[in-house]
Amino acid sequence: MKEILVQLEVLRYNPDTDTEAHFQRYELTCPEEWVVLDALNKVKADIDPTLNYRWSCHMAVCGSCGMMINGEPKLSCHAFLRDYEGVIRVEPLAHFPVERDLVTAPDDFMEKLKRVKPYIIPKEQKPISEGEYKQTPAQLMKFRQYSMCINCMLCYAACPEYGLTPSFIGPAALTLAHRYNIDSRDGGRKERQEVVATHEGVWECTFVGACSEVCPAHVDPASALQQMKITSSIDWIVEHLIPGGKS
């Protein structure tokens, strides 16, 4: 195993003692196959136990280890050291308040996820005795891509509109609404429109597309939002221009 010299420039912030963040440089040797998360773990184990960061699965499915690596939102378990040269700048995920070091406060995101009613609202309630809600493979494929979100918040860090207008509900939450809207078992689109079709909903998006570029699960939130803009526009026409029309 070839070892390489790794230099990390990590943002440090201690809420008890600091009013501003500062950067701390760590130098260490790591096997060249490692990811940034492995390097952080080695820093914490051997150099500086006070460094704080979130991680869990180490395989890009849990969504815990999102951070800015050289200014790009990435999962630190998915950022290979061999892809970087020189000093690697590691910062907490953009557009979220920093609790401590690389740990952000995801409260805004969690609240927005709940706001879009991310659960099946059946067209008709059926008692269990009447059996399951059936779905064909084709119906599943329609929304499957949008169900792959791991809630890592990289899209929020990438989205400039979220950075400029924090009330924006944001890519992941809106994509989750779309996932349920196009699920054949669901009948709650009209309810979700009260959240989706607002100024803070889909209409804050200007299709920058950064969200889809950074998404590690290939969810393509940008496409979900554009599709919802179209359905919301059709809704508006039906509601306002067609006599007796209801969306």
Partner: protein, 113 residues
């Protein structure tokens, strides 16, 4: 958080963006050729006046100009916001008004042909 009326401006923006994408490049190419001194036959007064003289020609020209104006106005509004100009209501009013006036003017000129 009431549902937004954004579709009123967004739908024509989307239609206009499509019109711009399909039609404007070739139109610019024609005027660019004219600017270089090679006026295409179709931009000569006789042919163009004849084209704009019939109803379909008027409709096409009006559709292209009006939708392109609106789409550019909307995109420019969003761009101003992205550049840090936060007086969105003022910017929107100025730009959409300009697009509407431009569209009405085009209609009037076309009707005179």
């Amino acid at each position: 958080m009431a549902k937004s009326h954004k579709p009123v401006v967004w739908f024509p923006f989307a239609a206009g963006g499509t019109v711009i994408a399909f039609c404007i490049p070739v139109i610019v190419l024609l005027t660019f050729l004219a600017a270089l001194g090679h006026v295409p036959a179709g931009l000569g007064y006789e042919k163009l006046h004849a084209f704009a003289g019939n109803g379909l020609g008027k409709l096409i020209l009006f559709g292209v100009v009006a939708l392109s104006l609106w789409s550019s106005a909307h995109r420019l509004r969003c761009t101003c916001f992205d550049f840090g100009l936060r007086a969105d209501t003022l910017v929107a009013t100025v730009l959409y008004l300009a697009a509407i006036i431009g569209s009405i003017a085009s209609a009037l000129f076309l009707l005179r042909i």
